[in-house]
């Protein structure tokens, strides 16, 4: 089976708003798939409908060949999906360590936690220094590391990462992208990013969203960057 995640003609409503108007996409195993597009184009909603937070009214979503479109969120996630939300949404009143414990799934032992921590520290060596700190007092970059680390606390096949570089300085953003690059060896990644140039070297495939529809797709990032007309029309002027 080549495609880890498959969305088939999904129509998603948030309240009475018709947000996703027939989205179809595939996320091949072991690759990084980018969702690009302007603010409000439907990228984050696509992720949330995969997670079951906004389940599709019509259409189907398959994960590892199994239909998940009508399952509750926790059951979907427990099939092996890690989620890094767009505004980080770390638990500010808990310590970093407690944030990670909350993310452990049922049935994980202390040993599992130790193993996962080794992977995390290998990826973000800085995190060792603030494990006992209250998460609410961390800097933006540290919070983003924690948000990614939370998704790594379990063995996931797919990571949904939403706007990881939002609000980070260019230097921090570059550091984070380097870490995400190394994440590729652990899991398949579906990445939402507005500022597509910063993540262009990560991507294997991309989909461009506009007004709740996919308007363009491809698998050659270099070509996309060169395509000035397309970039100007759908991705805005990103500096």
């Amino acid at each position: 089976m080549k495609d880890l995640l498959e969305i088939e003609n999904a129509h998603v409503y948030i309240g009475s708003f018709y947000v996703l108007q027939g989205i179809s996409l595939v996320v091949p195993k072991g690759e990084v798939t980018l969702l690009l597009g302007r603010n409000g184009a439907g990228k984050t909603t696509t992720m949330k409908s995969v997670l079951g937070i906004y389940p599709p009214k019509r259409g189907k979503i398959f994960f590892k060949g199994e239909e998940i479109s009508s399952l509750p969120t926790h059951k979907i996630v427990n099939k092996g999906i890690g989620y890094v939300p767009d505004t980080r949404r770390i638990f500010g009143t808990l310590t970093v360590e407690q944030n990670l414990i909350v993310s452990l799934r049922k049935g994980s032992s202390r040993n599992d936690m130790q193993e996962r921590l080794e992977i995390i520290f290998d990826l973000f060596p800085d995190m060792k220094g603030f494990m006992k700190q209250r998460a609410g007092t961390l800097s933006g970059g540290q919070q983003q590391m924690l948000a990614v680390a939370r998704a790594l606390m379990n063995e996931n096949d797919l990571l949904l990462i939403d706007e990881p570089t939002e609000g980070l300085s260019p230097l921090l953003a570059k550091k984070l992208i380097d870490s995400l690059d190394r994440l590729k060896e652990f899991a398949t990644i579906l990445l939402v990013e507005q500022n597509f140039r910063t993540v262009s070297r990560l991507g294997d495939n991309y989909y461009i969203f506009d007004n709740g529809k996919i308007v363009h797709e491809g698998n050659n990032m270099a070509e996309l960057i060169e395509d000035k007309a397309l970039v100007a029309q759908y991705l805005g002027v990103s500096i």
Binding site: H74, Y83, N99
Partner: protein
């Protein structure tokens, strides 16, 4: 300062004029200090020194006991509110029902223990003290378990359908408050009747009616000191549970952002049911241990619901700070008892006076934000 569309509140005014707020705050502190000073002077003139010490120490002990009781009840209210976002108006009724359950279970257990046909009479023999203490423990645990099941049932069958619909939740829980109160009135009579444990055993002499006598008017009811310890013990257990266990951490994290906890793989609906059971169980426990002191009364549902609101607001627990319930309960419990001993005519309203003052000085409560 501009008037906007005819809507203008005192809060907005203070927002725009921080110097006025600062002034008000200073004035409030000064008034508070003067009032406190006057009370002390008045009390010292009114009572002899020994009498003053006796009253003050009794207020402290009784106040702490009442605080701990209120804390047990309100922590349940807070958990349900914090995690599930449900303002449980039926919480006072849970508390009241816990009292009647404790009362009924105690009498039932005692009758079973005293029945010569059953083996319990051999176990306890003539040791009525051990028997009555055991019966009391059974009644407290029984009320906790039954109320936990009632709370869990109410969540599972009714509240569960109404998450995200606050108006319907309020109507539902208010409805349960009236239903439970009315059932209690039908069975046990109107609020004019209070039910106490007056057992035909030695619990009468030591555990409930017993007194520690330190001489010189320093006499403290054993039971109230027991309540203080019980409150601290349960608070300590909960504190450890929230820090050390995964489920405790998940509840804390869920109070901040329940959708995110679910997106990390936790069955949040299951957690909601557990928290409802925990909250209702705590209400049942506190109601049951209230019986030997203040009694079980069908009017408690509303009285203690209002105390719960005051404690949450005073403590600032509505900002998600668990400690807030603890400090809020301390303030309410101590002030009620101090008023009862020194200025009896204020006993019923002192908590509201304090609430108003605290809200002026710190609008977010003691532990909340400004």
């Amino acid at each position: 300062m501009t008037l906007q569309k005819g809507r203008f509140s005192f809060g907005d005014y203070l927002e725009q004029n921080p110097q006025v707020r600062r002034l008000l705050r200073i004035v409030a502190v000064i008034v508070l200090v003067i009032l406190g000073g006057l009370l002390v002077v008045w009390a010292v003139n009114l009572y002899t020194w020994d009498g003053f010490v006796a009253r003050a120490s009794k207020s402290v002990i009784n106040g702490l006991a009442l605080s701990m009781l209120l804390f047990l009840m309100v922590s349940g209210f807070f958990l349900i509110f914090g995690l599930c976002d449900v303002i449980n108006f039926a919480h006072g009724a849970f508390f009241m029902l816990g009292g009647f359950l404790g009362f009924v279970i105690y009498l039932g257990t005692e009758a079973v223990f005293l029945d010569p046909a059953l083996p319990f009479s051999i176990v306890f023999g003539a040791n009525h003290f051990a028997m009555s203490v055991t019966a009391f423990v059974v009644s407290a645990l029984g009320a906790t378990v039954v109320m936990a099941l009632v709370g869990g049932g109410i969540e599972f069958f009714t509240v569960r359908r109404l998450y995200g619909n606050p108006i319907a939740q309020i109507l539902l829980t208010v409805g349960f408050m009236f239903i439970l109160t009315q059932i209690a009135e039908i069975v046990f009579g109107p609020p004019q009747f209070s039910y106490f444990l007056i057992p035909n055993s030695q619990i009468n002499y030591f555990f409930i009616m017993g007194i520690f006598d330190f001489g010189g008017g320093l006499q403290f009811a054993v039971y109230r000191i027991f309540l203080i310890f019980l409150g601290f013990a349960v608070a300590g257990l909960m504190f450890i549970g929230f820090r050390r266990t995964r489920i405790g951490l998940q509840i804390q994290a869920g109070i901040e952002d329940s959708e995110m906890v679910e997106a990390l793989g936790t069955d949040i609906r299951g957690l909601f049911t557990i928290v409802f059971m925990l909250g209702a169980g705590l209400a049942g426990l506190s109601g049951a241990v209230l019986v030997p002191w203040i009694g079980a009364n069908s009017g408690h549902g509303l009285t203690y619901l209002i105390y719960a609101f005051v404690i949450v607001v005073v403590g600032g627990a509505h900002y998600g700070r668990f400690e807030g319930t603890f400090f809020g309960a301390l303030i309410v419990g101590l002030s009620i008892q101090f008023a009862a001993y020194f200025v009896p005519f204020l006993e019923n309203i002192i908590v509201f006076i304090i609430m108003v003052i605290i809200l002026i000085i710190r609008p977010g409560g003691l532990t909340g934000h400004e």
